[in-house]
């Protein structure tokens, strides 16, 4: 039981980092990306590669993962600078599909469909973090700074610029804001912090393959942010905790057929998304009004 709870708590931390970073661009900048799992994946693969080929020291691995993901996020930022709304959704969806193909086909680096096996445990000053309780502590030590960093950023003038862009890109532009630069920076920051979650995940699982970084993951992260409440600090965390508890809840309902639990879970996410959008588009924590992407698609 303790092992189960530790595992759940660790995965919650990792997913919360992802949800927070996704909310950073989705809820504050109004950049609606469905490619977040790709940055998670890039972080995980680069962390795994460094850990297996160089050193498992987290003070080396995590920065490398962040830099690689940050650089790659410029690929996403490129179309993001030019287009809005539905165009950006399509572009990020494209990146998601391309990314999965690269992950599963670039066999010499990512191990193809089989993935990367035998990732050594994370090391801090020569001490290997293999104990689950210690790893949870490490995950918390990553979650808290990410939360603080995004919180501080959002309170700064940068955060106000982001909200201005979300509410009206044209007005922000007219006000002399460098919209392109602000958007690019927010995408890069979000991707870099998502890579931290990727590195943690690679160390925690000890193996990674493409299945963890597919469209389903991006959608799940999106559901976490939306159900919790976009554009709020607490929303993504509430959403993560709720959606991560859901599988446990379903497995207690013994009348459900065991083979269908995965589908039932997905249906619950889907229904929750539909019903929330009809009755409470701001999410559970939100004010009832949606706070993201107010600009109508036109």
């Amino acid at each position: 039981m303790l092992a189960y709870l530790l595992n759940l708590a660790t995965l919650m931390c990792i997913n919360a980092v992802l949800a927070i970073t996704l909310n950073f661009i989705m809820g504050y900048a109004g950049i609606f990306s469905i490619a977040h799992a790709i940055f998670f994946g890039v972080g995980a693969y680069s962390a795994a590669w460094v850990a297996m080929n160089a050193s498992a020291n987290i003070f080396l691995v995590i920065p490398v993962a962040m830099v690689v993901a940050g650089a790659l996020s410029l690929v996403l930022a490129l179309p993001a600078l030019r287009v809005r709304g539905e165009y950006f959704v399509a572009a990020s969806l494209g990146l998601q599909v391309l990314g999965v193909t690269v992950f599963s086909e670039w066999k010499s680096v990512t191990g193809g469909l089989g993935g990367m096996i035998g990732i050594p445990p994370a090391e801090i000053f020569g001490h290997a973090v293999a104990d689950p309780a210690q790893f949870l502590l490490l995950a918390l030590c990553c979650l808290v700074p990410v939360l603080l960093a995004t919180g501080v950023l959002l309170r700064s003038s940068f955060g106000r610029n982001l909200k201005a862009i979300r509410d009206s890109e044209t007005a922000a532009y007219a006000f002399g804001k460098n919209v392109a630069l602000i958007k690019t920076m927010s995408v890069v920051i979000s991707a870099m912090l998502a890579a931290v979650a990727g590195a943690l995940y690679a160390f925690y699982m000890g193996f990674i393959n493409v299945e963890s970084f597919m469209l389903d993951t991006s959608v799940l992260l999106m559901a976490m942010v939306i159900i919790g409440g976009t554009g709020t600090l607490l929303g993504p965390i509430v959403g993560t905790v709720l959606l991560m508890l859901l599988p446990g809840v379903f497995s207690y309902m013994s009348f459900l057929p065991q083979t269908e639990i995965g589908s039932i879970q997905q249906i619950a996410y889907g229904l929750a998304m539909v019903l929330l959008m009809i009755f409470r588009p701001g999410g559970i924590v939100g004010s009832g009004k949606p706070r993201a992407a107010k600009e109508k698609a036109a």
């Binding site: 109004g30 609606f32 490129l78 179309p79 030019r82 287009v83 809005r84 709304g85 539905e86 165009y87 959704v89 399509a90 572009a91 969806l93 494209g94 990146l95 599909v97 391309l98 193909t101 690269v102 599963s104 086909e105 469209l215 959608v219 999106m222 939306i226 269908e260 589908s263 039932i264 997905q266 249906i267 996410y269 889907g270 229904l271 929750a272 998304m273 539909v274 959008m277 009809i278 588009p281 009004k289 949606p290 993201a292 992407a293 107010k294 600009e295 109508k296 698609a297 036109a298």
Partner: protein
Amino acid sequence: MLLLQLLINGIQVGALYALIAVGFSLIFGSTRIFHFAHGSAFTIAAYVFYDLLAIAQLHWTIAVLGAAAAAILFGVALNRFVYIPIQKHEGSFFTVFVASFGVGIVVQNLCGMLFGRSFVAVSTPLSRSVELMPGLYVSPLAGIAIAIAVLFFFALQMFLMRTHTGMAMRALSENPELVRAYGLSPRRLSMTVFALGSLLAVPAAVLSAAGSGLNPAIGHHVMLISLAATIVGGVGSLRGAACAGLLLGLAENLALAWFEPQWSEAITFIVLFLFILFRPSGFFGRATAS
């Protein structure tokens, strides 16, 4: 010879993509609803057809009619019970998109539970390929797909240009207020748009069920294609969506001459990326991206 084979396959697939994309584009163009669940209408139609023909052993005309009825019912009900309530309080692109994405997830998993997650195909005498020339195999379905795509597209054009409802639909995309001022109900019109758009996915669904087969995740693929085709063709242009659907089908198949099959979906998106970067208004688009 390989290239000719791939070209024919590409046109066959492209004709179906074009039909699906035109349906999506029609809905998006006239109601501004980002109907991501259009792929679900396709999945539902395909599975109803499969169920009626292969499992219930009914005549194929009944199966086709059943598929059409199911798709139309799905589209209209979704508009009535999800999109209209959302638009009543807040109609942002984001809210509608999320809800429609949620519907897509529900439908995909329900189909998986009801029909199983593996590939199923309806085999008909028409699906069997005939060797036209040495090394060149074509099934009669290819010809049917192309003929039906052309037929439906022209019927749609006639409907939009010649009938009152069609003209009102075009007006709806330009100016909903004006439509209301003329005493037409935008709400009833949007119902018609959804019925028509969903109907356009049916021939493609039936032909895919009889040709390449289907699984519950196919709706996703269909949706990606129609989304890409709508943007490559230029938002709001039905002609553009049709051409882009054809182009994407061709690109996907011709790419097989040089790349592994796993890359076909990625190729679609490379085409999309290039368009977004260099020609965001698409082939015939009026509206630019930003």
